[in-house]
């Protein structure tokens, strides 16, 4: 992380946002975190006192407007999808718990005998 923050970086905001949408669609948390660091690098590498730098950032933000809109919508869809995914997670956890319970229950009833 430290290396990413300090190394000279000049990422284009547009590319970052497009990649963020892709990473979000894949639910790739690691990549999203890397991109967040890149966004920080983008702003930190700029001299805030220099109006030219602000103009540069503003231009990048304007160019990325459509990609931001896509990202916002993917985020919204992900929020809705999460309910379904949470259900899946519960289902999987339930399956694991069932297996453990069965294992415990099986041993209790059969006393270690006949459990193939």
């Amino acid at each position: 992380m430290q290396e990413l923050e300090t190394r000279p970086a000049n990422p284009e905001l547009k590319e970052l946002v497009v990649e963020a949408s892709r990473a979000l669609a894949r639910l790739d948390a690691t990549r999203l975190e890397e991109l967040a660091v890149s966004c920080q690098a983008l702003t930190r590498s700029r001299d805030c006192e220099d109006p030219g730098e602000w103009e540069f950032l503003a231009r990048q933000a304007r160019e990325a407007a459509t990609d931001w809109a896509v990202f916002a919508r993917v985020l919204k869809a992900t929020r809705s999808n999460l309910n379904v995914m949470k259900r899946l997670r519960d289902l999987r956890v339930g399956q694991l718990e069932y297996t453990e319970r069965q294992a415990r229950g099986g041993a209790g009833v059969e006393g270690g005998n006949g459990n193939h």
Binding site: V70, R73, V84, R87, L88, N115
Partner: protein
């Protein structure tokens, strides 16, 4: 003796169960690449323990079948998102084709159907040129030529839009037969599932049903309602019944006001289908909203330019000294009777350049006042309160914004579909590593049971040879 028999029976059951479970794994592996196949896991049921001399002794397990690894809620969500993505996808394709009609060829000096903006400027500029020398025949010819280019491009674009509308109409009609075929298949599958497996997952039949649902979702917007005995009712997103248990209701088409409308029974559900989703929804939105909207704007532009330019020319005096009359008006364009259809019918009817009324009525034929007035029309707000060029620019910008908006929607919806698809694959598709692990475990279990069986067999033989009863603890 009785206890050895019980043990033999228990081990026999274990061997059967392992073998059946291995079949499930083998079936999974065999279908790893079958589209729509859902991985199955064996179901184990613990046998009731037996009572031997007051002691509860386990009686092993039985493999009672297999359960597909599916989640109906996830599948339904995936279908819903698929409907939205499919709808915006087909609408985006239509919008891109529309936009191409208004995009000038880059680097081309010749007029194309997409150069309406330049045509408008050139047309009014030709009057600016004429005002410098109102009697010059070449300049008069130039006015008619630029008028003809403008009219040709507007009418050509309108005709292309109409052709696109007709193509979408045909596409939409073609979807109906696919929808009917799928709803028929779904009704049949409902019956089969209800009779074969009313209380449990129906395995491959449900896979088939899910595949049909997925295909149907790409075509139209649907809602799914689970019914008793593993049945499924399907409605359009606005609630019209398409499948109920074993019965499907056919969509039909009919021509209404020159375009295809869609019916369920006698109810016209075209507008509901347009907003419902799927390819049909996207096609109908483009056909009934986007294309008529663009045509209406083009009609307004053509109507305003034709009527205003005609009126201005008719109020002046031509090179032969004639002024316009009711019987013989000095019209450059054919005069439209109504806004609707003005673009497709826009045409230059003036053939004699001398009839361009550059002079004001009451002035000499060398006067340029009316040519100046016609050139000045370019800056007047006579097209729905805007200048012609601003009106056209705003229209093209609005179309571009719509294309961009639908493109954004489509990209996000496809991302959502892929997100859900990944989740569904993780749950339902065959993971060969997991299957290999399961196979290895089951094989070991089978081998262990075989060895116990062999051992019991030996004990039994020994017991028979000894002629005395032997018990296995």
């Amino acid at each position: 003796m009785g206890t050895i028999n019980s043990a033999l029976s228990l081990i026999g059951g274990a061997l059967d169960a392992d073998q059946a479970a291995l079949s499930v794994v083998a079936n999974n592996v065999a279908n790893a690449n079958t589209p729509g196949y859902t991985a199955e896991t064996p179901d184990w049921q613990q046998n009731a323990p037996i009572n031997a001399n007051g002691i509860q002794v386990g009686d092993g397990v039985t493999e009672t079948g297999a359960t597909s690894q599916r989640d109906r809620v996830l599948e339904e969500r995936l279908d819903q998102q698929q409907q939205l993505a499919s709808s915006s996808g087909s609408r985006l394709t239509a919008l891109n084709s529309m936009q191409a009609l208004f995009t000038p060829d880059s680097g081309s000096s010749s007029s194309t159907a997409g150069d309406i903006g330049s045509d408008i400027t050139s047309f009014f500029d030709s009057f600016s040129s004429l005002e410098t020398n109102p009697t010059d025949n070449a300049l008069r010819e130039q006015v008619l030529s630029s008028a003809s280019t403008l009219a040709g491009d507007i009418s050509g674009t309108a005709n292309n839009l109409n052709a696109q509308g007709a193509a979408l109409d045909q596409d939409a009609s073609g979807i109906v037969s696919q929808v009917n075929s799928l709803t028929g298949a779904l009704a049949q599958l409902n019956l089969q599932i209800q009779s074969i497996s009313p209380h449990a997952d129906a395995g491959t039949l449900e896979d088939q049903r899910q595949q049909d649902l997925s295909q149907l979702s790409q075509l139209i917007g649907i809602n799914q309602v689970s019914t008793e005995n593993n049945g499924l009712s399907i409605t359009t997103t606005s609630g019209q019944l398409l499948v109920s248990q074993g019965q499907n209701f056919q969509l039909t088409t009919g021509t209404v006001s020159g375009s295809t409308d869609f019916f369920l029974g006698s109810t016209d559900i075209t507008s509901q289908l347009a907003t419902g989703g799927g390819q049909l929804g996207g096609d109908l939105t483009a056909r009934d909203v986007d294309i008529p909207g663009a045509l209406s704007s083009l009609d307004q532009l053509a109507y305003s330019i034709s009527t205003s330019v005609n009126a201005q020319n008719n109020s002046g005096k031509d090179l032969d000294g004639a002024t316009g009359t009711v019987a013989s008006p000095l019209y450059i364009f054919n005069e439209p009777a109504a806004v609707a259809g003005s673009a497709a019918n826009m045409n230059v009817i003036m053939t004699d350049p001398n009839q361009i009324a550059a002079a004001a009525a009451g002035s000499g034929t060398g006067d340029n006042s009316n040519a100046v007035a016609m050139a000045n029309l370019a800056g007047q707000t006579f097209v729905s309160g805007q200048t012609p060029i601003n009106y056209y620019s705003n229209f093209v910008s609005t179309l571009g914004a719509t294309v961009s908006e639908v493109g954004t929607e489509n990209t996000a919806q496809n991302a959502s579909v892929s997100q859900l698809q990944t989740q569904n694959n993780a749950l339902s598709s065959v993971n060969l590593n997991n299957e290999a692990a399961a196979m290895s475990t089951l094989e070991s279990s089978y081998q262990a049971a075989s060895q116990v069986f062999t051992l019991l067999n030996t004990i039994m033989a020994s017991a028979l040879n000894l002629g005395t009863e032997t018990a296995v603890s």
